[in-house]
Symmetry: C2
Subunit: 164 residues, 2 copies
């Protein structure tokens, strides 16, 4: 199978461009580790049972993309830890959405992990909501149209939607 | 590189289990097509510039998982279309979260596609919010603990968080 990267990068699509950077299954689990507060290579490696070279590769990709920041915390022997940048922290909705769907459809005994909202103190699963009216947003509640970043290659279904 | 599928399925983690099913880049773009209302193989193939055998494989995986439903719409010659099931529609927050992050960090001229919330009529980008207090939820607003589906193998960081 040819490397599909070129096709991905070519697409004027924010989903494709995000996947270009984080769209690999191990990468999401490395991000899970980071969001759980795990910062060190050896702990990630133990949690994920991942080959060391694969973990090193994924970490390097995430650092190069500006999603993780590498910080030396010990010099003898040299040891570094990995922390999410602000750009990395903004990946949280993706990770939570993946978790939520799995909790709903792929567990037998309920969620392995539960979340509590610090601000209100309630156990909760975040939902997608409209920032204006605060109502939950599902696929059927949304219409789409070409945006400022649209180019002549804009998706035909998007163009058709505007025409309706 | 060995197939990491086994490792993924072994993990008692809803993120890993979701990725087991949809965690492949083309799969997310096939889902994008479905959410844009594209239902036919040839149109998806044209939009994605994807090899026909890869598209057929991804569609079959999504049908087998119960995410897409295949319906015959013409008998001579035989033609089918693919529609999201309820379980498939529930993947929307994942797709939107991927899009939102790409819009924010990977575009030069703004979002290629903009969304409007039918209920309130405003152009918007959905946010992750607490279903109880409606406040936006970011990574720093959440604490986690083992849930009902936790097993002795529960992630050490989750156990440690509860102990704090």
């Amino acid at each position: 199978m040819p490397d599909p990267s070129r096709r991905f990068a070519d697409q004027n699509c924010s989903i494709a461009r995000t996947l270009e950077i984080v769209g690999e299954r191990w990468t999401f689990l490395v991000l899970r580790e980071a969001f759980l507060g795990v910062r060190r290579f050896d702990q990630m490696q133990a949690d994920l049972s991942i080959a060391r070279n694969i973990l090193a590769d994924r970490l390097q990709t995430l650092v190069a993309a500006g999603i993780l920041e590498r910080r030396r915390y010990q010099d003898h022997p040299p040891r570094s830890e990995y922390r999410l940048t602000l750009m990395g922290l903004d990946l949280y909705p993706i990770v939570i959405s993946l978790m939520r769907w799995g909790d709903r459809y792929q567990t037998e005994h309920g969620p392995p992990v539960v979340l509590t909202h610090r601000a209100c103190g309630r156990e909760m699963t975040p939902v997608m909501a409209c920032p204006h009216c605060s109502e939950e947003v599902t696929a059927r509640d949304v219409t789409f149209a070409p945006g400022p970043g649209a180019v002549p290659g804009t998706h035909p279904a998007v163009v058709a939607a505007r025409a309706r």
